[in-house]
């Protein structure tokens, strides 16, 4: 849990725009996809920060920019108080040891021509951490850690099921003893009964190794389950961020409320009785977001001011941040 105020990651005004170019030979810059548009938040040591939002809201881009897999268009990313956006390549590589990623698709994220042993050994080799027997021991230890048989080192990814592959992906992320793991939709391609296995494993590993997670997913109930705090994104911006219970009980942004009410509940009594807010229309294009508040095209409580002014992202209660004129 959040022990004190020590922040592992601090993000200030992060922006990531992807340029839209037109023209066949001479490319002209005609616009930008504003995938992440001015986002600020912190991640505390040992916590799980959940990041939810729908397709195209920029949640994956936040995760990748945070690891400097994408170069940010603007803004700062502080990892242990060091701004990684200004580091040289060498220094950056040293910091990257401490931050790892688990990917969404366990079928695409493991090289089919490498054995599990060499997949797990490669981060160790790249960072020159161990050699020979030590390496073999570490690989076996990693497999044991994620609940796989250590004799599997010579097998290839196709010999494993989706859930087992995701365990290999987790073992690879753990290889360098990182502080932070960005989990990018780690369970959304798995079956329900397997999802629970993987989530339980992630929770167990966090307790044992003191890991910090940024857990990115579109499944609100799963994010609420695993997170200490949650951030809700819409169209490149964080619209609300708070403690998991606070956001569930006292969400103030109309998008968070709608999202919450759209989540299916596996209980026919509750499903029948609860009030549902059904949003009209689709998410606008991030290349051409609406003027003013970017939720104004779908918001059920929209007013004149929402078309003119972009709401300020502000703290309305104890660590409860929201960007809405009426919050």
């Amino acid at each position: 849990m959040v022990a004190d105020n020590d922040k592992l990651v601090q993000i200030f005004n992060l922006k990531k725009y992807f340029p839209i170019n037109q023209g066949f030979i001479i490319q002209k810059h005609v616009g930008d996809i504003k995938a992440v548009d001015d986002v600020s938040f912190d991640i505390y040591h040992g916590e799980t920060l959940g990041l939810v939002g729908e397709t195209g809201c920029g949640k994956t881009t936040v995760g990748r920019t945070l690891l400097y897999l994408y170069e940010p268009t603007a803004g700062q990313v502080l990892f242990n108080d060091v701004d990684i956006t200004t580091l040289s390549e060498n220094k950056l590589r040293r910091v990257r040891r401490r931050m790892q990623m688990i990917f969404q698709d366990p079928y695409a994220s493991l090289n089919p021509r490498m054995t599990v042993g060499s997949i797990l050994a490669s981060p160790l080799e790249v960072h020159g951490m161990v050699s020979g027997k030590e390496k073999r021991d570490r690989v076996q230890e990693l497999l044991r850690l994620v609940g796989l048989n250590p004799d599997f080192v010579n097998r290839y990814p196709h010999e494993f099921s989706g859930g087992q592959r995701q365990r290999i992906g987790i073992a690879r992320a753990l290889a360098l003893n990182p502080d932070l793991i960005v989990c990018d939709e780690p369970i959304s391609s798995l079956d329900v009964s397997i999802q629970a296995q993987v989530v339980n494993l992630l929770e167990e590993l966090q307790d044992r190794l003191g890991l910090t997670y940024l857990f990115i997913a579109h499944d609100l109930s799963m994010v609420r389950h695993i997170s200490n705090r949650m951030a809700v994104m819409y169209l490149g911006k964080i619209v609300e961020l708070a403690n998991r219970d606070e956001i569930y009980l006292h969400s103030t942004h109309p998008y968070t409320k709608a999202l919450m009410s759209a989540v299916p509940v596996p209980d026919p009594d509750i499903a029948k009785s609860r009030q549902r807010i059904i949003l009209e229309g689709d998410i606008p294009s991030p290349a051409n977001p609406p003027q003013g508040c970017n939720f104004n095209t779908r918001c059920p409580v929209v007013a004149d001011i929402c078309y003119k002014e972009d709401p300020i992202y502000r703290e309305i209660g104890d660590k409860h941040w929201v960007a809405c004129h009426f919050a």
């Binding site: 729908e54 579109h218 389950h225 299916p264």
Partner: protein, 330 residues
């Protein structure tokens, strides 16, 4: 009486290089007029294959409907000629598929694709079909529908495409709509729109709906009855409330336990089901859930339990030990 579809002992298998994949292993149930049935299960449990078998859309070979009957309005669909089944498809039974991105033809306009069924099955002229297609599109909530008929699928968003698919499926006012994971590829706010739409249309048109999904949350909201499938068997079936509140099969309880809930207390641990579903090529002799079940006994290994009545008459479960388990957990 008012049963629309009756399935008796349906079996479907696929002949592959690795052996015979037993996808559907003798399932029986009936679906009433105007009823919404949820079919729930994980990947490979046979839920989609059984729906495709009803529509006779299984590719033969490698597929084969190895036995059973699908009685739809006094006719066995399995025995119909291909010309006859084509008359049923689209007109009496329509289907909406999971992926709205790939189930529309990208080189034809949306309007053309909706009009196709209208001219084919209902013998409308082009003008009549176009007018009706416009009405259908506005019925599923697409703004400015008559003009959007000339759009191509890529000009529609994912949610709009799924609406267009539903419009297409409803074009001949079918008696049964089979929706195979219709919202899985969509975001939750769009999913809520589609669920709401199907419920509204079902009430207006009085058709029966079969909603196939892996998500126990979605069908809790919309279905009247639920079939839970595992390894090609129906392992529990009942009214929606019984399935969620008086769960009898250990697999169903496991599935419900592995779902995080928005209203759960902090620190709740998910109950996961250990292990993996069985290989459909090499199914065990007894209960297919044996390897993962915490209540298993020797009998479960040797004999496959049949669906028997539990509690009320509409609630059936395929488990040798459901009574003992029920006693223990209450």
């Amino acid at each position: 009486m008012n049963s629309l579809l009756e399935i008796r002992n349906l079996r479907t298998r696929f002949h592959t290089e690795d052996g015979i994949v037993k996808a559907v292993n003798g399932i029986s149930y009936s679906l009433n007029i105007g009823e919404i049935l949820g079919v729930v299960g994980e990947s490979g449990c046979g839920k989609s294959v059984h729906a495709l078998s009803i529509m006779r859309l299984i590719p033969i070979p490698p597929g084969e409907i190895a036995g059973g009957e699908v009685i739809f309005e006094d006719r066995d669909l399995i025995k119909l000629s291909s010309a006859e089944i084509r008359q049923v498809r689209g007109r009496d039974i329509a289907m909406v598929f999971q992926d709205p991105m790939t189930s529309l033809n990208p080189v034809y306009t949306v309007g053309f694709q909706i009009m196709e069924a209208l001219t084919l099955h209902l013998g409308m002229t082009k003008e009549q079909a176009r007018e009706r297609a416009g009405e259908l599109l506005s019925m599923v909530g697409i703004p400015d529908a008559p003009r959007r008929l000339d759009d191509y699928p890529h000009q529609f968003s994912g949610g709009m495409r799924q609406r267009a698919m539903i419009a297409m499926a409803l074009s001949c006012t079918p008696k049964l709509l089979i929706a195979d994971e219709p919202t899985t590829a969509l975001d939750v706010t769009i999913q809520a729109q589609i669920v709401d739409l199907v419920r509204r249309l079902q009430e207006e048109l009085g058709m029966a709906v079969m909603w196939i999904t892996h998500d126990l949350g979605v069908v809790a909201d919309i279905a009247h009855k639920i079939n839970v499938m595992y390894a090609g068997y129906i392992i529990e079936r009942g009214l929606v409330r019984d399935i969620y509140k008086n769960t009898r099969h250990p697999y169903t309880s496991g599935l419900l336990g592995s779902l995080p809930r928005l209203d759960e207390a902090p620190g709740t641990k998910l109950v996961s089901i250990p292990g993996l579903p069985p290989d459909l090529v090499d199914l065990p002799l007894g209960c297919p859930f044996y390897a993962r079940c915490i209540y298993r006994v020797q009998q479960c290994l040797e004999e496959m339990p049949t669906l028997e009545e539990a509690d009320g008459k509409d609630h059936t479960v395929a488990c040798w030990r459901w009574e003992q388990i029920a006693e223990r957990t209450e």
